[in-house]
């Protein structure tokens, strides 16, 4: 018999999470797993200290992705989750610029014709990951 063995009683102890997302929305399921985990965390009353998108994971912040109608546009759903919950979301700058993920400031600096990063995320550095790690109770990576 299959049982849902973990029955979380409410209220819970609120924990601060950092989620590190290393995978692009188009490759495998990891970005989707991370998104589902993040949404469920918030539903259960936990706090997301920071989302940090690294490596191919930075594509999740692209505002230029277009999906077929019967598929989920993960970057758009991330953007909605971040905006609706006022989350701190940071995209690693060195991962981002080499993949064409730039905000308007980076676009100007590198003389690019357009920006491609949702404004709900900020382009930042590993220092912001380290800072968040020192202020959180739990860290999970998805890759």
């Amino acid at each position: 018999m299959v049982a849902y063995v973990i029955d979380t009683p409410e209220p819970i102890t609120v924990l601060r999470y950092v989620l590190l997302i290393n995978a692009a929305p188009q490759s495998g399921e990891a970005a989707n797993s991370a998104l589902r985990f993040a949404g469920t965390l918030l539903e259960m009353g936990h706090h997301i200290e920071r989302l940090f998108f690294y490596g191919d994971g930075v594509i999740n912040a692209s505002n230029l992705t277009v999906m077929p109608q019967d598929e989920t546009n993960l970057p758009a759903v991330w953007n909605a989750l971040i905006e609706e919950n006022g989350l701190s979301s940071v995209v690693c700058v060195s991962s981002a610029i080499r993949r064409g993920i730039v905000d308007s400031a980076e676009a100007r600096r590198h003389e690019l014709p357009a920006s491609s990063c949702y404004t709900s995320s900020e382009i930042g550095g590993l220092g912001q990951l380290i800072e968040a790690l020192s202020n959180c109770d739990r860290t999970l990576s998805f890759g």
């Binding site: 018999m1 299959v2 049982a3 849902y4 063995v5 973990i6 979380t8 819970i12 102890t13 924990l15 999470y17 995978a23 495998g28 399921e29 990891a30 797993s33 589902r36 985990f37 469920t40 965390l41 539903e43 259960m44 936990h46 109770d137 739990r138 860290t139 999970l140 990576s141 998805f142 890759g143």
Partner: protein, 100 residues
């Protein structure tokens, strides 16, 4: 020391050996994404994980959504959790290790 191992890839001889080399008896394992294939006995390198000698001494869970996506039926001695259960496990254990 009391870590949650999040296994997201299907079993291979090497990943199994790596896993067995570092997990501790007090650790907890959750199989997600292609990791739920650990439940299948067809893999030559792994018995059904929950009952296999490899994992018998560990507390193991399988993610319901990812089992369902692959049409894998849980057998009697497997513990299945949904994403809320996954979150609860991550809250219970202070550290996590992601295998992907």
């Amino acid at each position: 020391m009391h870590s949650l191992h999040i296994i997201a890839k299907a079993p291979t001889a090497t990943s199994l050996a790596d896993l067995l080399a570092v997990i501790d008896e007090s650790d907890v394992l959750i199989f997600i994404e292609d990791g739920v294939y650990f439940a299948r006995s067809e893999f030559p390198c792994v018995e059904p994980a929950a009952s296999a000698p490899y994992f018998r001494q560990y507390e193991c869970y399988y993610l319901a959504e990812d089992l369902a996506a692959r049409g894998i039926e849980a057998h009697d001695d497997m513990q299945v959790v949904d994403t809320r259960g996954f979150v609860a496990l991550s809250a219970r254990l202070a550290r996590s290790v992601s295998w992907y």
